[in-house]
């Protein structure tokens, strides 16, 4: 074999680069995983069992899961149409709409909670008339939890669904119309199924962001307690012991849901990609 200088150079340099990058990346992975591993390492089966037996712990975890599901459903109903519009149309002020969609990502969550109080709180511009008309109150209710969760997590659904719709070839929609499908039928039978994995990815992220939300929820509705609020409450009242046991339990629940969703949609993604490539 003839020596190839370009190849030798190409061989030497990336190796150093790969080494340095692997080291940096490895540090980050350890940084992410270590606290969670320590959290589990610090638990005894007895303390976990004792905390798991507490009714208020179980109801807080259940409430978190329910509220996060409900939030994902709201995000689907309100976010998917907006995602489709952003993917398929161009209009004056589109940049502003996109900025508004991303805004919650940049607002501190306690600020979100306070701002939501002005709208959905006791004297809020929506909260007050609704409570007067129907008696329903967003503070101290699951409704307030969902509202706080939706505010901080909706952008994930809109953005991922938009990417999903953008990946659908507009010519498929055109062909469907020439075959007799009206606009609603085209959306429901062509665009929506083809964008499904983008939408589901977005809903998974919205769910994950919602179930882990603390800041805006605690400001808008301290009660009924979601799991993160309850953990904080236990930490303040009884210190690290029981709080860390509940934290370990809750993390196990929310992470396993997240992993299950990801696995479901990731396998779908793999199948779809495989089909496309043939």
């Amino acid at each position: 074999m003839t020596p190839d200088p370009a190849r030798r150079q190409g061989f030497g340099q990336p190796r150093g680069l790969m080494f340095v990058f692997s080291l940096a990346g490895g540090l980050l992975l350890v940084f992410i995983a270590l606290p969670l591993l320590r959290l589990y390492g610090a638990q005894t089966p007895a303390s976990l069992m004792r905390v798991a037996a507490m009714a208020e712990v179980r109801s807080a975890i259940l409430l978190s899961v329910e509220a996060a599901f409900l939030t994902a459903a709201c995000a689907a109903l309100l976010g998917v149409p907006l995602a489709y519009l952003l993917a398929r149309t161009s209009f004056r002020g589109k940049g502003l709409v996109e900025a508004i969609v991303d805004l919650p990502l940049a607002v501190p969550h306690t600020v979100v909670g306070i701002a939501l109080l002005f709208v959905f709180g006791r004297t809020g511009i929506i909260g007050a008339p609704i409570s007067e008309l129907t008696g329903y109150q967003f503070w101290g209710s699951a409704g307030g939890i969902v509202i706080a969760m939706l505010y901080v997590s909706a952008p994930y659904t809109v953005n991922a669904a938009r990417v999903g719709f953008e990946a659908v070839d507009p010519r498929l929609e055109k062909v469907a119309r020439t075959l007799g499908a009206g606009r609603w039928a085209v959306f429901l039978q062509v665009s929506l199924p083809l964008a499904a994995r983008g939408i589901l990815t977005g809903l998974t992220l919205t769910f994950a962001r919602s179930i882990s939300e603390f800041g805006s929820v605690i400001v808008l509705t301290y009660y009924p307690m979601t799991a993160p609020v309850k953990i904080y409450d236990m930490f303040l009242q009884f210190g690290l012991g029981d709080a860390s046991a509940m934290a370990a339990l809750f993390l196990a629940v929310s992470l396993s849901l997240f992993v299950i969703f990801r696995a479901l949609f990731a396998s779908r993604r793999g199948a779809a990609a495989g089909e496309r490539r043939g």
Binding site: L172, K174, R177, T178, L179, G180, A181, V190, E275
Partner: protein, 361 residues
């Protein structure tokens, strides 16, 4: 039927950088109309306007005597075929073919999906997803999907342009057979002259949103109405003829009273109608008969026009049929080529390209 199957009258529209200017033509049942034009000519815009995705500023679209100018795409029964056929990737072959039937109940007498699949040789693929089909299979699925809705008009937007040369030839002849049998008028846009020649009953050259000339393929190629048309179609000689005989790989083509010898190909079946195409640089001119007998085609010809074409001269001849030749400046001077000069034009049989045509209706 007296009325045209399809009539487009004075269609005009401006969409961004693209425009349609006063587009008019008519098609009779089963006719294939090829629109030849460079990219950016507005060909796709014309098709999408016919399909109903743009509202024309002026003009009318009539199909079977019905004015469809303001009808939405789903109410037009116009089938649109894109470059890669745009099959629904999430549906299998049978679901793709049956897609249109979800929205309109099948008329009595229309073919059920199963029969369509069988007719187009797709039965064994019914459960397969489009990504796992060959190019030819995809084309047949797209055609079946369109046929299921009993279209009044087929629109083809450069369906073959993304394919390699070999599959293009195969699919083109499949498509041609299909169009011949379907009896549905079709509009086919392309920038490929061979494709136009192979498929067109009628053709037009489009540029800057306007149809510059509408006519038969040989009219457009041999008698371009303007310089723009001539430049775009090239100056290839295209002759209508009939195959007289085929033997030992050679075909004899009757063109008017003359006989042109050509290398036989798929199009060369006895008594078949063909177009014989000759590139101008393959035509040699001489004062006397060529001594080399391997040159099969030698015709006495008379110069009818001479024009400078870049470094060459373009000589138009009457050899019993119109013929165009390119000669170098040296030949031009040596032969003294001016209008009226008589000489011998020769063309090697290998330089005559035959394209099959459907027999005239």
């Amino acid at each position: 039927m007296v009325a045209s199957a399809v009539a487009v009258e004075g269609l005009s529209l401006q969409v961004g950088a693209f425009a349609l200017q006063d587009i008019s033509f008519s098609l009779s049942a089963g006719e294939t109309f090829v629109i030849l034009g460079p990219s950016g000519a507005g060909k796709s815009l014309l098709l999408e306007t016919l399909a109903g995705f743009y509202r024309p500023a002026r003009g009318r679209i009539l199909i079977g005597g019905r004015d469809l100018t303001d009808a939405p795409p789903e109410a037009r029964r116009i089938a649109l075929m894109f470059q890669d056929y745009a099959l629904f990737p999430h549906l299998n072959v049978a679901q793709n073919v049956g897609f249109g039937l979800r929205f309109s109940p099948r008329r009595s007498g229309a073919e059920p999906v199963g029969a369509l699949l069988k007719r187009l040789g797709l039965e064994h693929l019914a459960g397969r997803k489009p990504a796992r089909l060959s190019g030819g299979e995809q084309q047949r699925v797209a055609l079946a999907r369109a046929l299921a809705m009993e279209p009044a008009l087929f629109l083809f937007d450069e369906p073959l342009s993304a394919l390699d040369a070999r599959s293009r030839d195969t699919l083109r002849s499949e498509l041609k057979t299909f169009l011949g049998r379907a009896g549905v008028p079709a509009i086919y846009v392309t920038h490929d002259q061979l494709e136009a020649l192979a498929l067109a009953d009628k053709m037009a050259v489009m540029s800057n949103g306007a149809l510059l000339q509408v006519g038969t393929p040989s009219e457009i190629f041999n008698a371009p109405a303007s310089e723009v048309v001539a430049n775009f179609v090239g100056v290839e000689t295209v002759l209508e003829g009939t195959v007289l005989s085929v033997s030992e790989g050679m075909a004899a083509i009757g063109i008017g009273g003359r006989i042109l010898h050509a290398l036989a190909n798929d199009a060369a079946a006895a008594n078949a109608s063909v177009l014989a195409c000759i590139r101008p640089e393959d035509v040699a001119l001489a004062r006397t008969t060529h001594p080399d007998s391997s040159v099969r085609n030698q015709f006495p010809a008379r110069v009818t026009a001479v024009a400078a074409a870049g470094p060459l001269f373009k000589i138009t001849l009457d050899a019993g049929f119109p013929l165009v030749a390119y000669v170098s400046k040296q030949s031009y001077l040596e032969l003294g080529l001016v209008s009226g000069v008589a000489l011998i034009a020769s063309v090697k049989a290998t330089a005559v390209h035959l394209i099959g045509r459907a027999a005239p209706p």
